[in-house]
């Protein structure tokens, strides 16, 4: 089943390959340099002596991939005009709900990581050399775990919410939270103490801070990664159960 969904995403990408590729590269580069140019003027200090543009690299890719993940999941599971039948097609196939959720997550994350990978390469060509090959692989690994968690949250929203207004409102608000949690716009060191507590103690942020620690200081917390993976597995099971209820199967 996972193969079927990955092939489907591949066909969707292939059918509009050049437009997608151009948009992915242009938007990721544009977003990064536009924001870093503005934020450089606002932040009077450079975090740990690392150039702000470089510091922003992982945050840009994580946030950019999150936005793409939101679009993919919205399209497949919520867009009534295009694909509301997608879930029904999966539902009448001989596959368990857990497998359906797992396949949706894997195929969407696969595509997001591909976009994340392409935009990372594009950014790395333009930024001064700061990341080793091993660190880059770890970065992609962290991105995958981060997106798996996020995909589960998005899928949960699509299952629980019926109205498009509420779904878009909550999802977009959540994306703002993700951008804050990844310190995309405001670094945790200059957030308020309450926001800081929320940001630090959630699995999404743990992963972003962990990869930044690894890339820039050569240190990482394996516990944060384990916690995130365990939470993801629980979430798969919860979403499988919720999907079963929603589909009345």
């Amino acid at each position: 089943m996972i193969k079927a969904l990955i092939l489907r995403r591949y066909w969707l990408l292939r059918n509009r390959f050049f437009v997608t590729l151009a948009v992915v590269i242009a938007v990721s580069i544009g977003l990064h340099f536009f924001l870093s140019a503005i934020l450089q003027e606002i932040y009077s200090f450079s975090p740990n002596g690392i150039p702000f543009q470089t510091w922003l690299f992982s945050n840009t890719i994580f946030t950019f991939s999150s936005i793409i993940l939101f679009i993919i999941i919205y399209r497949d599971l919520f867009d009534h005009q295009a694909n509301v039948q997608f879930l029904k097609t999966l539902a009448i196939s001989p596959n368990s709900k857990f497998k359906i959720v797992l396949s949706i997550v894997v195929s969407s994350v696969f595509e997001c990581v591909l976009y994340g990978f392409i935009s990372s390469l594009a950014l790395l060509v333009l930024l001064p050399q700061f990341i080793s090959f091993i660190h880059f692989l770890s970065f992609i690994g962290h991105l995958i775990i981060f997106l798996v968690l996020l995909a589960n949250i998005m899928i949960m929203l699509t299952i629980l919410i019926q109205r498009v207004f509420i779904f878009l409102f909550l999802s977009i608000t959540f994306l703002f939270f993700v951008s804050a949690a990844t310190s995309f716009l405001v670094d945790k060191d200059i957030s308020s103490s309450i926001l800081n507590a929320i940001i630090i103690n959630n699995p999404l942020t743990m992963l972003v801070f962990d990869i930044r620690m690894l890339i820039f200081f050569g240190d990482y917390q394996s516990l944060w990664i384990i916690i995130s993976i365990v939470i993801s597995f629980f979430w798969f099971a919860i979403n499988g159960f919720l999907l079963k209820r929603k589909l009345k199967q």
């Binding site: 089943m1 193969k3 079927a4 092939l7 489907r8 066909w11 969707l12 059918n15 509009r16 295009a82 694909n83 039948q85 997608f86 029904k88 097609t89 999966l90 539902a91 009448i92 196939s93 001989p94 596959n95 368990s96 589909l247 009345k248 199967q249």
Partner: protein, 308 residues
């Protein structure tokens, strides 16, 4: 004959409203069964329940003797289901949609391609296979959905209005294929076209408020109308006196008048000659005799009350 589908006291509720109520029936292997009924009669929900797209709240559905709730994967792999709505991804080509569906049933791409081309040839849609669904007319998409439902070689086909949106030619190709498949596959379909149902069925189920109101072949169902015929005689002038006189002829049933036309039912054609004989002195402009069909059966008055 062996039962392919068996429903035992199946009930379905939606928001506390009863949609299907205590349905009990079996469908023989290889037969072609048509389900008809008014809007909101529960036809589409019944198909969803049979195909395990939705579970029933009460009772059991057995597919080849296997309970659809307890062994769902086994059951759904034997079923090809076409919903009422167009369910293909508009941004994929027709063949990509069909391949995707086949892969969900763990079929190899080679098997999927062979079956896809075979059925696409039967339906004359090969030129459309590599076109984006959004660029194809709904009738062709509908035929693509039929290929999609067949690509995993199901034993049972559940079709919700299979020929919706189709032109006459597509309709013919579709039924040529379905009638060829009948026998090797059990086919259950819902249609709004009574003409379609009259020409393609082994058995008809008439659903009314979630219950089976009538069940049998067309001949058997029409037998319940006691071989009645509908007669219509248009007079140059139909007086009240003549209408009364004709209405009192013993075998004339449910007489009514529309302008200068007399409408009535009779079991045998003999009654028609009796009416002609009584009305011989009046000028008649037109005469019509029609054996009752499915349309008349579905007409609420006769389906519910019969002819008195």
């Amino acid at each position: 004959m062996e039962a392919s589908i068996t429903l035992k006291k199946v009930g379905k509720l939606i928001h506390d409203k009863t949609i299907l109520a205590g349905l009990n029936f079996g469908i023989e292997k290889g037969s072609l069964v048509a389900i008809i009924g008014d809007n909101e009669a529960g036809k589409s929900i019944l198909l969803k329940v049979i195909s395990s797209a939705e579970y029933q709240e009460y009772g059991q559905v057995f597919i080849n003797g296997v309970d659809s709730k307890t062994r769902r994967s086994e059951v759904v792999s034997k079923i090809g289901y076409i919903p009422h709505e167009l369910d293909l991804d508009p941004w994929l080509t027709l063949e990509q949609n069909i391949r995707f569906s086949g892969l969900l049933y763990s079929k190899s791409l080679e098997t999927i391609n062979t079956r896809m081309v075979q059925y696409a040839r039967d339906l004359h849609i090969v030129p459309y296979l590599n076109k984006m669904v959004k660029d194809i007319s709904p009738g062709i998409v509908r035929m693509g959905m039929i290929v999609k439902s067949l690509v995993h070689d199901p034993e049972i086909l559940i079709l919700d209005d299979p020929t919706a949106f189709m032109d006459a030619e597509s309709y013919r190709y579709t039924w040529d294929l379905l009638l060829r498949l009948k026998g090797s596959k059990t086919i259950v379909y819902v249609s709004q076209s009574l003409q379609e149902v009259e020409s393609a069925h082994d058995r008809i189920l008439v659903l009314e408020n979630g219950r089976i109101a009538l069940d049998g072949s067309l001949d058997r169902l029409l037998g319940s109308t006691f071989e009645f015929h509908q007669f219509q005689i248009e007079f140059d002038s139909l007086s009240e006196e003549l209408f009364e006189k004709l209405s009192k002829i013993p075998h004339v049933k449910n007489p009514s008048r529309v302008g200068h036309s007399l409408h009535f039912y009779g079991r045998e054609r003999k009654v028609f000659f009796e009416v002609l004989s009584v009305a011989a002195s009046s000028t008649m402009k037109d005469i019509r005799i029609k054996k009752l069909g499915l349309q008349d059966l579905m007409d609420a008055k006769y389906a519910k009350d019969g002819i008195h």
